[in-house]
């Protein structure tokens, strides 16, 4: 189906009138970030991005499209896996009795508009981690159950994108409630779930034409032309045979071990927990916050930091993401979004790092 570009505001109005909080892309502090929106005026129309290792900037262009850019630093992860939240609180009564109280996550029915194929693929991975295991995470679950996704197929890749080689983009496969493809005159729309179909109530939908479908195919072909790709050797099997490769040390001379890569990674789920007691000592709050394998605490056990060196931390990240992740979740933990490349302050390129471990050709 198809709707005219001017119907986009109608879509927002419908969602807002149904009581949804709408989260959409917008320009802030020199980047396209996600926050509440109520008007299409807030969308980054006529804006495109320039990304390369360690660099991100925005430019104005003459396009009338709303989604003619590749992803910014966030997408869905911060909405579902909170960067910091209180899990529970303990209190001591005057008689010395200690009681524990669960902190219920605050949720509101939410629709995210503009998420990309890589974001949807990453959400599916985080669903596996937080929901599809023996112990379900109630905080993630509460937010996930109230989130609907209106995804947008990518129109052009950033220099740092490589979703085509991970098989996660540039067009949305499954996992979104509604998928849009932005054409010159409007949007192809595909409701993939009954909830998604409900979101489209009140829109003037037209049957899509052959020309529109061709335009969509051409957009897909264009967005698939990505400069970067994962190396083609069997990464999963090889990495654990390369633990003593000098390349880890070589990468570590450049790596700041700052954790920016893992923070922007849409699948990284590591966290730490800590207690924040009130000064009077009568109550204490227990928090969970994003952590990183690049920090000291991640491998701190009983007085020893097991991975004290950056080479070990970088190796931990890559061997988990591309190798042991397969054992845990049946696939690699990388969706090819390229954020770790763009948002690395020193521009370390994960596809290049992996290339170090390609088997030397034997003559």
């Amino acid at each position: 189906m198809f709707f005219q570009a001017n119907q986009l505001q109608q879509l927002l109005n419908t969602l807002l009138s149904k009581g949804y909080r709408c989260i959409g892309p917008q320009v802030r502090d020199g980047a396209i970030i996600y926050d509440s929106i109520s008007s299409t005026e807030q969308l980054p129309r006529g804006i495109n991005d320039e990304q390369k290792p360690g660099h991100y900037s925005l430019n104005n262009n003459t396009s009338s499209k709303y989604f003619d850019w590749a992803n910014g630093p966030q997408a869905i992860k911060p909405l579902l896996f909170a960067s910091r939240e209180r899990l529970w609180e303990s209190k001591q009564s005057d008689e010395g009795q200690i009681s524990f109280e669960l902190t219920e996550p605050e949720t509101k029915p939410t629709v995210i508009i503009g998420a990309r194929a890589c974001d949807i693929a990453a959400m599916k991975i985080q669903d596996q981690h937080f929901l599809e295991q023996e112990f379900v995470d109630p905080y993630y679950k509460a937010r996930r159950e109230t989130l609907l996704t209106v995804a947008v197929n990518c129109s052009h890749p950033a220099d740092t994108c490589f979703c085509h080689s991970t098989g996660d983009g540039p067009f949305v496969d499954d996992g979104a409630d509604v998928v849009l493809t932005e054409l010159d005159s409007g949007f192809l729309v595909d409701a993939r779930t009954p909830q998604g179909k409900n979101l489209l109530e009140g829109l003037s939908l037209e049957d899509s034409t052959k020309e529109q479908l061709e335009e969509s195919e051409s957009i897909k072909a264009n967005a698939s032309k990505q400069k970067r790709q994962l190396p083609r050797f069997d990464i999963k099997s090889r990495l654990f045979n390369e633990l003593n490769n000098d390349a880890w040390h070589e990468i570590a001379t450049k790596c700041l071990s700052c954790g920016n890569c893992t923070s922007v990674c849409p699948t990284c789920f590591c966290h730490s927990e800590n207690d924040v007691p009130e000064l009077d000592g009568k109550s204490s709050a227990h928090y969970r916050e994003w952590d990183s394998c690049f920090g000291q605490g991640h491998s701190y056990i009983h007085g020893i930091t097991i991975r004290s060196e950056t080479s070990q931390r970088y190796r931990q990240w890559l061997t988990h993401k591309f190798s042991s992740w397969h054992e845990q979740y049946g696939r690699s933990g990388c969706v090819g979004c390229g954020r770790c490349i763009t948002w690395c302050p020193v521009g370390i390129d994960v596809t290049e790092s992996l290339g170090h471990f390609e088997e030397r050709r034997r003559d």
Partner: protein, 258 residues
Amino acid sequence: MSKPRVAVHKFSSCDGCQLAFINLGEPLLVLAGLVDIIHFAEAGPLDENAKIDIAFIEGSISASHDIERLNKIRENSTYLITIGACATSGGIQALRNMADTKQWIEGIYANPTVIDTLDNSSAIKDHVKVDLELWGCPISKQQIITAIRALLFGVLPIEDKDKVCMECKRQQTVCVMVTKNEPCMGPVTRTGCGALCPSVGRDCYGCYGPAENPNTQAMANRLQGLGLIKDEAARRFLFINSGADAFHQQGTRMKEAD
């Protein structure tokens, strides 16, 4: 049971870290109920030579009589905690360690003989055993509360030595280095400030000192890649915490190579 006795001492400093106590607000009243504040010149109580349980030290060792006073405080205290960059690394005034102090004094003061100063401004740990260091310029209220609460529980607080970037990303602040080429020191600087500077769109200048495992050489290379000349990049390290080992070594290495 008597309440733990606390003192706040000042050496060479701007008093900003003592204000972290005074500005506590309501928790200050709670604190006053939990401990006896025996000596805190800026707030009123005076008893410098009393035996105490927790001594907080602001300021660096900068004059000859400081050392004797510090030794007495150490003798009189069960726990000694440094607060802020001055006490912990020598502070901004440690910049003079790289200059000729005598020449400066003669060049600035009309009557140099009345000036009593050591050649170097040094951290408290260079002179006595320090039980806990609270970094920052100035320290935050939360650092004070966390430290005192942990000690009242009978343990030392867990130190967060991660980089500022971790907190910046938790706040979903857009990276000022990646988007604006700001020479942000966040990737080598210890967290604790709440990523204050990047959250208002400017670069971190390292006032909480080095984080654990800081790759200062890679940071220096990046700063130069952003267009800073070597001397400017060196000064990013040789600033508020020029006396902190990791920053000092990187900065002086670059100065010498320049």
